[in-house]
């Protein structure tokens, strides 16, 4: 075993290593380096987007992007046209399932069989109703709808005095309508003053229940509802026609948008009604 701690041995190794003489680098090294740098620069200037791969092949970024975009486009196209075709009986086994896709409803699809209904839907009165949130809220009330089906109630509510009396009932205390009648001075006075209302109130549980709703009481001050209630046939239609009820029950946003469109309100309601009827 060599003892490297022996100074002679260490010196010997060092001396031996130093026996290897310095070797001059190739005389062309500097030129070779500089020409390689220059040629690479020139190549980059000519093909800025070309990148060398590890295997020495050249692949252009643009080509990559074009290939990727083409592949994506082909996939989308195949998806849209349903390629490859699926034979009958093999749907959803291999390939895309042929699901039913219903087309969007267009104006041409709207067919109203009732001419009177169509006329009402296009009337100013209906437009007023759709733009009056208070009236719409009241007409959404099931008890109120039910009460309007009763002739006595319709007759009573056709009177502006009755509507004013109901409208003056204090808001915020609505609860049990019978108890309300006892406690609310204005309602009691209205009932005492108007025999028709009193009769309707006593005979119609639906009306009593309806008057427990703040929405119904508030709507008595609505001009649109007043116009509706003063026309008995319209009241009947409102209470009986499912299509109209459906339209009035549509989300406020849709109706507000229709109202904002002004004259387009009629068409908006026309679109909504048939779908509700279906």
């Amino acid at each position: 075993m060599t003892n490297i701690n022996d100074p002679w041995r260490d010196d010997e190794v060092t001396r031996t290593l130093n026996d290897l003489p310095p070797v001059d680098p190739p005389s062309t090294l500097v030129n070779d380096v500089m020409s390689t740098i220059a040629s690479r620069k020139a190549a980059r200037a000519t093909h800025p987007s070309v990148i060398p791969t590890k295997r020495g092949k050249l692949m252009a970024k643009k080509v990559l992007w074009i290939v990727a975009a083409t592949a994506a486009l082909a996939l989308i196209t195949m998806r849209l046209v349903g390629y490859p075709p699926v034979e009958k009986g093999t749907e959803a086994t291999i390939g895309a399932a042929q699901r039913y896709q219903s087309p969007q409803i267009s104006s041409a699809d709207v067919k109203t069989e009732d001419a009177q209904l169509q006329a009402f839907l296009q009337s100013d009165l209906f437009r007023q109703l759709t733009t009056d949130k208070t009236a719409r809220q009241a007409l959404k009330n099931k008890d109120f709808q039910k009460a309007l089906q009763e002739p006595a109630v319709r007759a009573a509510l056709a009177s502006s005095d009755v509507r004013d009396a109901i409208g003056s009932v204090k808001l915020g205390v609505a609860g049990d309508a019978a108890a309300l009648a006892k406690s609310d001075v204005a309602l009691r006075a209205a009932l005492d003053a108007n025999a028709a209302l009193k009769a309707a109130f006593e005979s119609s549980p639906a009306l009593r229940a309806a008057l427990a709703s703040q929405d119904v009481i508030a709507a008595m001050k609505s001009a649109a509802l007043a116009a509706v209630l003063s026309q008995s046939d319209v009241s009947i239609r409102l209470s009986n026609d499912a299509a109209i009820r459906a339209v009035l029950s549509a989300p406020d946003v849709a109706l507000d948008a229709a109202a904002a469109a002004g004259g387009a309100a009629g068409s908006a309601t026309r679109d909504a009604a048939p779908s509700a009827v279906r």
Partner: protein
């Protein structure tokens, strides 16, 4: 390998003056080539590795940290090139240790001795060979070598100790064989 003025030359290179890099290559070609030759033991391989190292250094010059010694940074690039060459060699592939023709004038005995030393160097592992080469064939201090290799100076010394010990064994065998 005086690195005085390296910063100015590098700044000029980064400014687009290619001739400044020529000055850098001229300045460091001998040191870098010697290291490559001693690491690879083959003249042609050393030339290619040195050339590649200089080209790559130029292409990545903007990533050079001026706080470092330029030669240390160059050496790290060269080391990677040398490792690529060594990896590409097949196991047990014999490598010609002949030097260029201008060395042919040396006496046979001298050439045999030099060949034996280079063979001994090539017998060392890359880790040991690089410390020996940097210590004996460049003017780098232990700290510079440590910085170039990315290891503590104490580890440089311990590796150098072990490498010399192994070289002593190898060279003793050669002397005995003669």
């Amino acid at each position: 390998m005086d690195d005085t003025g390296d910063a100015a030359l590098i700044a000029r290179c980064l400014g687009g003056q290619q001739d400044a890099y020529e000055a850098i290559v001229t300045r460091y070609q001998r040191g870098l080539f010697t290291v490559a030759l001693r690491m690879l033991g083959n003249y042609e391989d050393a030339r290619d590795a040195t050339q590649n190292a200089f080209v790559k250094a130029y292409e990545h010059l903007n990533s050079f940290d001026p706080e470092q010694r330029f030669f240390s940074w160059l050496f790290r690039i060269l080391k990677n090139e040398c490792l690529n060459v060594l990896r590409a060699r097949r196991p047990f592939q014999s490598v010609s240790l002949d030097m260029p023709s201008d060395r042919a004038a040396d006496p046979v005995e001298v050439r045999e001795r030099q060949k034996a030393i280079q063979t001994a160097l090539m017998s060392l592992s890359t880790e040991y060979r690089e410390v020996v080469v940097l210590r004996h064939y460049t003017d780098l201090s232990y700290d510079d070598i440590a910085a170039a290799l990315g290891i503590p100076a104490t580890k440089v010394k311990s590796r150098l100790y072990t490498a010399r010990q192994q070289l002593g064994e190898l060279l003793m065998d050669w002397r005995v064989a003669r």
